[in-house]
Symmetry: C2
Subunit: 233 residues, 2 copies
């Protein structure tokens, strides 16, 4: 087994909380729409609009905000008030400004790994927002690179590894999404460790990967990462 | 004078048309708002909202779309109809999908330069949109790198040059914005060539750089670039 030289670290919900802010705004969004029509399945409709818009607007808060606006117009049959649309835009701004809260043990774990491994944060979403979060996290000086990609698929992982001059066999990706952090990395011949988050976006749960069928590891907590990696070498 | 090894190429309105699509949508936006209140200075108000939102939402079409929505709500005192808000969201999608039209002479010029220089497209805005435009432009295989940055300031140019292992003295940036493509590059000790575009966003015109005071070159057309560079070496 080749030695691991480089660890890819997912950011949102692996290094810091993110989904909880989306869930919070979605709760407010559901309450807002329910005032117009309590009978609609708001969550399902929003997810469908989000998924359709991913292709055109991509991931992240701005895309999510535009999808909420579109969903609000559709579910209220155009009755949504401008004040409520404005409220949704303000929620988007609030999310962009939300302070970064590192998950427990992240800083110590990153600190413990950085001498032995090349560490690269690999994250998708709004470029500006992700860069701002990395800067605010205090982790920027502890890692060797930050890669914001528009999609986490096999080809973007290949590009990132090429950029950092790493063979897939020497690479392990660590993250909370089997769909985005695990399966595409296995596809290019790398290894992956799944650390489930307390709350995960429905979209990321849409996959058929299991540790048994696909051959990846699972950890309960990022603090267990150094021990697992030391067993591999 | 050190020899130039690397050329940075701005993308929007240097390699392909972009501002013209914003102007077109802004025209439609003005017509839409004027139906509610023809007395307001729509363009000035939109620019002010855009500038304020740059800090939180960044550059690009999604940010612009959210700024139009916010402006529409403000300028109509909340009277804007949901149908019109929806229209604005659709304009945003239309802009994301707009086919890439290379400016005249771009392809031949890039082709002429690529053997002699390292070429890097350096652009700001939506990550997904910029990547899609590079892919569609047919230029991806002709350049050595594509860097989408969240802001074109001295520190992001420094990062890009570091990434490509280039000294600022060996670097020249080519673009249509003195504010974004010229002044920050001069600040870090590089050279810059300004190629004014037919139409330029008001925001980019807010600077006090001149070729005489700041020492940069100006060209009417990108096709003149190879000759200017050959005079430098």
């Amino acid at each position: 087994m080749t030695t691991i030289s480089t660890i890819g670290l997912d950011a949102d919900d692996t290094l810091w909380e993110s989904e909880v802010h989306f869930v919070d705004v979605e709760d407010r969004f559901r309450a807002l729409i329910a005032r117009y029509d309590p009978s609609r399945d708001i969550q399902e409709h929003l997810l469908a609009v989000e998924q359709r818009n991913l292709e055109v607007f991509g991931y992240g808060v701005k895309s999510f905000t535009l999808s909420m606006i579109e969903t609000a117009i559709q579910l209220t049959d155009g009755a949504v008030h401008a004040d409520d649309v404005h409220r949704i835009v303000e929620w988007g701004k609030e999310m962009m400004h939300h302070p970064v809260a590192l998950l427990p043990g992240v800083r110590d774990t990153v600190d413990a790994l950085r001498d032995e491994y090349q560490l690269v944060i690999i994250t998708k979403g709004d470029l500006l927002h992700q860069e701002a979060k990395v800067a605010q996290s205090g982790l920027a000086d502890l890692v060797d690179g930050v890669e914001v990609v528009s999609e986490k698929d096999a080809s973007s992982y290949r590009r990132v590894l090429q950029r950092h001059d790493v063979d897939a066999q020497q690479f392990v990706m660590v993250g909370n999404s089997v769909r985005s952090d695990v399966l595409p990395v296995l596809e290019i011949g790398g290894r992956a460790i799944h650390i489930p988050a307390g709350s995960t976006w429905q979209y990321e749960l849409d996959h058929h990967g299991t540790p048994e069928t696909h051959g990846y590891e699972t950890l309960d907590n990022i603090t267990e990462l150094p021990r697992m990696l030391s067993q591999w070498s």
